[in-house]
Symmetry: D2
Subunit: 467 residues, 4 copies
């Protein structure tokens, strides 16, 4: 066995990021080379299974192949591949070597390499998504829901362009991600369910299987059904690329949502803003020379991994092009596709850890809210003046804000003391006047919407009720 | 009016590719700056419409605004924008200038700029897709179906790795694109239907509209319903980016299918292959110095435009990130999104022209098929030998092919004259033996599958039956 | 003449971004379709010029061609192209139509289309860079130098991870961009100088020109020399792509520097930080509903245009691949290359406008510096303790900072009152002790380095001395 | 030691592509996690070395640190990092643990983490390029030169648009890559030489080192000089990103040249063209079901790896943006940068193996050349007619080629029998007439240029003379 100190590995996914053993173990079962071969062998077993079911070979042939597959090792395959220079032929040879002479001919019968390769890939991508990625995403979705609800009334200044706009609540701000991540979870689920296999031979026309079966398309369906997959309406040597393209898009676009959230958090953690924080473990060092620092390293890591992974979607689009019934220029590139899954999973897992200890600095949130207290009410003032018939409300209020900045007085007091505006104030309702006096009341439907968003996604994702 | 010789324009979309007037006219209605403003104004009208419907303003206010919007010009807006330095404020000012003093306050009431901008963009992207892009794609899908059926029995060598593999039919090869394009048409439709608008104010919490309405989310729904849109579960200053991201992905991934088809055609048009061709118009010049050339310029153009457009998906992913309740770094970039629509449309339209005169060289297809006649049957021979119990069928046949190459004899005759293989031949069925004698029969289900694929997509796309 | 209201154009570069007439005029001369044709015609003239210089045709042939070229219009070419379906053949036909019968044969003699197209493109890219892009970049570099020097002593907190680190000066922070932009200006210059032309015929082997000249490579050099260009060591139908690839990389990587600067400025302009600002014009509107807002729209615009343009580098890399002596799949895509130049130029020009009115809020800079005054000195304290032999300086100081946060006392006072640390303090030099008392002194070489960076780049770029 | 079966690894670079031990060994020394730590430790040693040279600590301190560094292991560092949660602090702690108490304070003195990290990365990227990548590229360049010269007179049809154009030689076609790859080798060398280190502390202003040294910039220079590096004019916490950006661009653009060559070879290997081939090893299997196939799998692999790697340049451009004196969002992403180096190296190494057994099918080249023998001469005929005054040479010849296609006669014979053209033929020189009779003579300067290109690049790259 070719064994290696993991620090001798080249890819960060094989040293640094695989050191958390629970994370690595989950991924390894689906995405290592060993797992890939295991899944390919599983497709070969499905083939024999159908041959048996159809009465083409006796039942014990299946047992033999299952046994052979159970005991084969990656090393054997690679060793054989050195001779054949062809990985699937190597797999077939190794299986054949382990079965009786009469079973040999039925191994891989009518199949072309990519019937095995593509089907196995789709299957393991489906499985790892259902068993590893989606549960992690859903766990994070739930955490977001919990914190959104917990902070639904925490009044926070809304920010556009990095500038104070009008108030919302922290819960409402997080509900953005409940909604966006919820939508992506649905998208990932749907794209995963659409992953297809194939068993249509070297050029997709069932040339080989037609030698034996009167309706080879049915045969294909049966083999794929063994694996929980179905075929597309057409295939060449490979499955139509779009199912995989959509799947990868669903992952990459989900990753972008996490990156956007991480950017928000990084900035809310800036020294001058300091509204949220990452919990620092006892003994953790923020900087090698600046012992006082509390860096948002986890959010930075998520953003950074996203920068490493997102551009690879271009590779996926490039791989939609394949000449005629297939060229092989999507082979090496496809070997790196798992990176997209790994990157997304590790980042979600990281955010789950961080949000388990999500720290909110309520004092600081309130302090920041008050920085522009005097100006924040410019918007409702303008809107109310306008709605009560002021002919140039926006311009009038804009000038008041400039005056407010100069004098340090509040826009509202300037407005109330303005003879030309007085007449409008008289028309305002009680509630409207109350809002003009207290920015913290000008939060619209932030609380109600937070609740609605959480409930709505709990239902759409069948999560049950969380509080 | 700032008018300009089109050749003074900078973008190829505004000179070279807008010269086909019918194409340009279709796009201009939705994607020019003029159209953008028209759609923004349409959102402002929808707002007034709902205010009227709710009894907040009298009916004639709507008439006034409709009239104002009908007569406003892009120039006016831009002229006003020079003062305000803000495009939506400019639009609002211009509309207000054209209505009675009592109507003014209701223009843009409670709206923030991006309620208008985002909603208008989603609306025009939806419309241009439904009215221009999808019809063009469907027309091309139909053309592909027709040619697939017409050529369903044209036996053609299947090619993998650019190498002769086993035979299919030309119709089956084209059915690949019937299926892939069919799938993409569905994806584009679905993504288009998912495009959402918003009317939730500056930070998404309905701060302003809450001043007037007890359930501003209903108000939002009503305004959007006027335009045939609906809101997302959450919005900030902008609509959740993922609806647009999915939409753009559907377009880009569709474009890749066209690029793959174009690559296939380019290569089938190579001098040495010459199986298909583009019809050349009388007087058309293939090369400035080589008068004999017939270049696949249309397919090259499609591939090339795809290379220009596809990488822009990266911009779309980048724009999924927006700080807090929004930063504006997706504004200038979003102005270029129409390019993706334009590129896809122009390429589809071009392919429709080319495929209207799709030329097949049947003689050449047959000639190419025969190049490796002797070798093609290696696959069925191997498979039959294997299935009838030969312990090393693949290796045996591989050696026969090497021998065939050296001696010029056919694999089949070498096999038949091989004493060790004779015994297997006796077991083959009649049909199996027939296939070994005539490569043209080894096409599997190519004909049937072509028919099935076409029928299947006619149903899924509701195209009616085409023959 | 096909004339059009510019708001009917599709590309933002042809409406919104071409409205500043001085900017548009500068670009149009090189990058419009009209300009492209003008440059192509200029190459045809260079060809005739060399034929005259070599005595192959009489002098007045050149005059005739020059005259023909001077009066041809884009319309004529496009009109002719409708017949020929080939743009360069159209150009040649139009020129030939305007000259005497005896001159006709010498127009385009031995040239292939891409001798003209590629050479003309390289030439106009070179010219627009030298005459428009580089002057704009250099103007901005000078502005950065001036502000760096002006603010070289403005003590500002250094920020890493968005967290306060140790102090620098604002001038030093801007000197980063003096240095990075300076480096890019050199890179752009060098890449521009490396742009090459070609005149080697249809497949690069001088097939046609060899019919007439004994050393056609010399002939190529002479034609290109007329245009201020030189050939590569090899060409096919096209110039080796790498010269253009390097050139585009130099532009894109320059754009990234501007985007990074813009991000810095956006964040320094955040409401809570507010250290710098964009000057707002009287009457300018920050938000359609929030009259008090001062949004960093120009920096957002630069970042956003960069997001639209940067990914197009992928197209440039894709276009490095061209089959055999050339396929045409780089033709349509290359038509969009000017966008990269336009995007960079417009952003630089915008930054020049913004930095002409660069506003620094010195009070706020000082206020921010003091937020963590007590902690900032943790770094020098740790380093001094360590250097004077404290065995666990980093850990000790890290704990002091936690204590400082809890007690509100300064790290330094805690340290001074720590009996175990006292003995170390005695060893510190006067200067070292002074720094521990005043964070503002712990700026290292910020002032000196600012000066050095500016002087160094003034020399490297031959800018003369700026103060 | 955490050891692992390599097939349990996730990245193809750590299983499939690291199985060729000689290739893996070469890369591992520079690009594994172990190597990274080794290089970081080497920077710590350089620091002590300069402290010793400056007389700040006695000589034996250096010995102690060197010894400590020599015996530290990756495991120890990672084990320590579990506590510190900071990798460089972990390294420092481990080194300190291994030295005498009096040495401890001088370890890492004045350094910030990224002084070590960035400098170590630049150093190992420089080393791996100089010692592994460049030698491999140069070996391939030499192979290309040898084959170009060997085939300089092998007349081959030139192809544009996949269509037969005019003849060249195979050597000339390969000389394209001699020239392009030569240019890239120079670019890689130059970019490698430009890689810089830094030792300017936490925010680049030498805050910490200023506590001890009067000119800390000199101190930085001395430390870097120990490692063969130099600083940039400015740094923040990190080295200016552009040096790395340019370096990665040089690698990616080199990779594109290999991908373009591989595409050419793939297509020349098409069944119908079959001009070149990959040597197949005895026993190698081309297809699991089609024993006769000879697939261009190596060229496909190179193209495919390029598709996986090239888009990562987008990550590099994204990493040019870093907020203020640095955010950490370039940390995780930078860990994947070695992939670009690995991908390029493996592809070059693969091409070296393939070209060591480069197979040319001269018969097939000649056969293909003759397919359009009759038409090929259309170009010189048109050019000669034009130059001797025919007023519509291009159009006349274009019509002749259509006639030639219909009648099967050669363009030349049609032309000679055309009364209107006779008069022109009389004027042609002997050499010109000879060319019109034999397409094989119409190769321009293909032979001479091949020689020139090879000689020119042998000189530029100092390769000595190859024949």
């Amino acid at each position: 066995m070719i064994s290696r100190d993991i620090f001798s590995n080249l890819s960060p996914f094989d040293h640094r990021y695989s050191l958390r053993e629970n994370e690595y173990d989950k991924l390894e079962k689906f995405l290592s080379e060993k797992a890939k071969i295991k899944y390919q062998a599983r497709v070969e077993v499905a083939l024999i299974k159908v041959l048996v079911d159809r009465g083409i070979c006796p039942n014990h042939y299946l047992k033999e192949v299952e046994y052979a597959v159970a005991e084969l090792t990656s090393e054997e395959i690679y060793c054989e591949e050195k001779k054949t220079r062809h990985n699937i032929r190597a797999l077939v040879n190794v299986i054949q070597r382990k079965v009786s002479p009469e079973v040999k001919p039925f191994v891989h019968l009518t199949a072309t390499s990519f019937d095995i390769v593509d089907t196995a890939n789709m299957l393991r991508f489906k499985k790892v998504t259902e068993e590893v990625v989606l549960p992690e995403l859903i766990e994070f979705e739930k955490k977001l829901m919990q914190i959104s609800l917990a902070e639904k009334k925490t009044i926070q200044i809304g920010r556009t362009h990095g500038q104070h706009a009008v108030p919302i609540t922290l819960g409402f701000a997080l509900a953005e991600y409940v909604s966006r991540l919820g939508g992506r979870i649905l998208a990932v689920k749907e794209a995963t369910n659409q992953l297809r296999g194939k068993f249509s031979g070297a050029v997709g026309a069932y040339n080989a299987s037609s030698l034996f079966f009167s309706n080879p398309a049915d045969f294909e369906k049966e083999v794929l059904a063994e694996l929980g997959l179905s075929p597309a309406t057409h295939s060449t040597q490979i499955v139509e690329p779009e199912f995989l393209t959509d799947f990868m898009h669903s992952l990459v676009s989900t990753f972008s949502v996490l990156a956007s959230l991480s950017d928000d958090m990084r900035h809310l953690q800036r020294t001058e803003i300091a509204e949220v924080g990452e919990y620092f473990e006892e003994g953790q060092v923020g900087s090698s020379t600046m012992p006082h620092k509390r860096n948002p390293i986890n959010y930075e890591n998520v953003k950074s991994l996203w920068k490493a992974i997102m551009p690879r979607m271009t590779t996926v689009y490039l791989d939609q092009l394949s000449e005629h019934q297939r060229d092989l220029t999507n082979s090496a590139s496809a070997r790196f596709l798992p990176d997209i899954i790994i990157g997304l999973y590790l980042s979600t897992s990281r955010l789950n850890r961080v949000f388990a200890k999500f720290a909110v600095n309520h004092q600081q949130i309130e302090k920041n809210l008050n920085i522009n207290k005097n100006l924040i009410l410019a918007e409702p003032l303008y809107i109310l003046l306008a709605s009560y018939g002021h002919p140039a409300a926006h311009e009038t209020v804009r000038k008041l804000t400039l005056q407010a900045e100069k004098t340090g007085k509040s826009v509202q007091s300037l407005a109330e003391n303005d003879d030309k505006l007085n007449c409008y104030f008289d028309k305002f309702t009680k509630k409207q006047r109350a809002i003009l006096r207290e920015p913290g009341k000008y939060i619209g439907q932030a609380v109600e919407r937070t609740e609605d968003v959480v409930v709505s996604w709990q239902e759409k994702l069948n999560l049950g009720r969380i509080k």
